[in-house]
Amino acid sequence: MKATSDERAAAAGAAHALAARLAALETRDTLRFAMCGSVDDGKSTLLGRLLAEAGMIPDDRLAQMVRDSKTHGTQGGRPDYSLLLDGLEAEREQGITIDVAWRYFGTDKRAFIVADCPGHAQYTRNMASGASNAELGIVLVDARAGVQTQTRRHTAILAMFGVRRVLFAVNKLDLIDYNHARYHAIEQECIKLAQDLGVDAADAIPVSAINADNLVAHSPKTPWYTGKPLLEYLETVQVERKVDEAFALSVQWVNRPNHDFRGYAGTITGGRVAPGNEVVVLPSGRLSRIARVIGGDRDLESAEAGQAVTLTLTDQIDVARGDVIADPALPPDVAAQFACHLLWLDDAALLPGRRYLMKLATRVLGAQVTEIKHRIDPDTQAHLAATRLVANEIGYCNLSLDAEVAFRPYQQDRRLGSFILVDRESNATVGCGTLDFGLRRDSNVHWQQLDVDRVSRARIKGQAPRCLWFTGLSGAGKSTIANLVERRLLADGFHTILLDGDNVRHGLNRDLGFTDSDRVENIRRVAEVSKLMMDAGLIVLVSFISPFRAERRMARDLIGESGFMEVFVDAPLAICETRDVKGLYAKARAGKIANFTGIGSPYEAPESPEIHLHSDRESAAESAARVVKVLID
């Protein structure tokens, strides 16, 4: 059958409409927002309802929600829209949401990526992931309660993570009978709060998630509200997209398919780049020029922030993963010490002086917090004194890295100004933070240039400086063997010094106790002293239980791989306990010494010590002879 002209016209019209829609979809932008609220403010209900009302939830999922509402809904069998969002079994069973959930929806005008941040006790940790990439924050407020401590906390964290615009969704308006005066008071309070916390722009919307008031259409129950319904607000809100104007790219991968091509792949963090532009490579400071900008499989005339590209340079210079290629007119700063905000994520506390790995853009290197300046009270933003940070606490700290890196302050550039800290033993991500400014300590406290150095001092002694680090349980034989080794060395004409744990604690370290942070400081001082002694050209013998791998690693890092020899004096706990030279095991067993290594506190055996002695199988003299042999060879 032939199509009638009406049918043909309809088909052409449909094709036309589709083409227009596709064009709209191709050019629409994406808004990332974080959604926060305390437990029971109605966040899940609001989001679920918004998606459903906007026609974003497929029929089969809506039907399932209606079915599930009968069995585990909270609405007495009526549709419970919060069920549209619940995912994990564990969470359903406990009836709580435990982690940031990512939601996606869109209209023809905009696509939305929602970080749905749970509001319970772990909120800070969870909000960090959500707020870090958000351009807008939505804070739920229960109309019955108004601004609460949690409201303040959520807004403060959004502000700290650089979210410049906040929308307060004042929910459960049905429960205050859509009272304008009450809403108005809450609105004023919210806007003032946002201003106090330094948020650039703040708005409020009166809603009822349960009744879908002001979600996609104006509610007849709030004739006094003249602003936009929530969905339209989201479609049209202008957010400041903070990207740095000056070009920078952090090198992710060096692309070398053959000898003729050497490209630097990465994502542009700021500005724009084109062939011919002059660039500087940081931290080395070498200058060059862009030869090609490659996007995918073609050459581009230019590329801008956000694009993943591959650059080639006109000169053969050394560029590695983690380096930053930048505009030499406005280059990022270079520093190895920083003032930063740090949010602690791990259940084990942050201890100043402990060594972690830091990842900043694509660079990974050793880092330690040298000082906690203060902790920030989440409710009042007051500065509190602190010696450690536990999970969910935020501190203002000094951070020291093993080498210089290129960076920008976080408020200027989120990508080059943010970092995570990783634990070297557990590999967990234990902290995250934002860089404020570089400390020029390195350049202010100049290293005194010394004419006579370690090598020349050691040469006249006819030896190479070394640090022999004896570790093992109390009673394993560390001190006995270290003593024997020193006597042998002295007899052979070597210059030595022996640092014994107990003795050092009577003098240099007598202000330190046995808390975790004191232990770290204890080891740090001993390692620093050992290093000075090595500079004096000596062979240093350290006899310390040093039960934790992380501590010994810190000593190794401070002293330097080449001079450090870990000597593991190994004997089973049972044998050490029968030896019990100082009567300490008996006391520990009797409960008189807390945290005694081997009894109340673990000993982490070295994984690959330079020397491994078995003091239960060989005599102290045999062990000592082995150490001397390894040292002299």
Partner: protein
């Protein structure tokens, strides 16, 4: 591309999990772009359940030939010996031929990072998945050990026996995938496009018979219908939808006013809504 590059730069032995579907096609396309002019420095792995549509296998072999990316095919031979049956015991078939098979293949080759095309919008159970998802010994997934990823700063450090699953398309939606395929002119398996095919109905699902292994039951008969697929898997487990969408614009138009979720077409997902999480714990993704 940033995520793909990060995986290759930071992991020792990564692999692309290639499922032949549209998401895999997009991933492969991104991979070729991310490493151009070099060839992507990793192979792709296809876990073959032996029940894939023939058109999928042809497509896979041609893509491997044309791109020059090394293809590793893994079939769980124990499963083949036991003889699993997707028709009568779908969950067991999926577990043995897909979940177990994938674990075998990853362990056998010692891959420490497997890149997959899963997206967070597919299912509420995936909404909290990380981009770099940590798997413990035996490739188990422990919700508590997952690492926060602020600013997209991914921690890729692994202990012995730990591996990563990497999902570069986490933040994409099904619509994003199709729009990207259209914009970049990426080729996908023709089964996604409507065409007249021989169909029959079993347990309420509209199936397209791809080979003779499944005999028709009394009362069932083959009917030619114009159908297409929204997702691709084992043919007896993948329901077709009646559709006229014969090209990309048609598919997108259909999706814009469709009222069914993508997974409605997967026969194995008809169990309780929690099943995704359980499968994930077992290592399905």
């Amino acid at each position: 591309m940033r995520i793909l590059r990060e995986t290759v730069a930071a992991c020792k032995k990564p692999v692309l999990l290639y499922s032949i579907g549209k998401d895999s096609s997009v991933l492969l396309h991104l991979l070729l772009k991310a490493f151009h002019p070099a060839r992507p420095p990793l192979p792709m792995l296809h876990v073959n359940t032996t029940w894939k549509f023939r058109e999928m296998i042809e497509f896979r072999d041609r893509v491997a030939r044309e791109t020059g990316v090394k293809l590793i095919e893994h079939i769980n031979q124990d499963g083949v010996k036991q003889g699993t049956d997707p028709v009568n015991d779908a969950s067991k078939h999926t577990y043995v031929m897909k979940t177990l098979a994938l674990r075998q293949a990853l362990a056998q080759h010692g891959f420490d990072a497997a890149i997959g095309g899963a997206r967070r919008d597919e299912d509420p159970a995936r909404a909290k998945e990380r981009v770099f998802s940590l798997r413990g010994a035996g490739q188990s997934w422990e919700p508590r050990k997952q690492r926060p990823e602020p600013w997209g700063l991914f921690n890729t450090r692994l202990a012995q026996d730990e591996t990563l699953r990497v999902f570069p398309l986490s933040d994409w939606t099904e619509l994003d995938v199709w729009l990207y395929i259209r914009r970049e002119g990426i080729e996908v398996v023709p089964l996604y496009f409507a065409k007249q095919r021989q169909t029959f109905v079993r347990n309420g699902a509209l199936l397209v018979r791809d080979d003779e292994r499944v005999p028709l039951e009394p009362g069932e008969k083959l009917v030619p219908k114009t159908v297409r697929f929204r997702t691709l898997g084992c043919w007896p487990l993948t329901a077709a939808v009646e559709s006229d969408a014969a090209d990309l614009d048609g598919i997108i138009a259909e999706m814009l006013d469709t009222r069914q979720s993508e997974r409605a077409g997967r026969v194995i997902d008809r169990d309780p809504a929690d099943s995704m999480e359980r499968k994930k714990r077992e290592g399905y993704f």
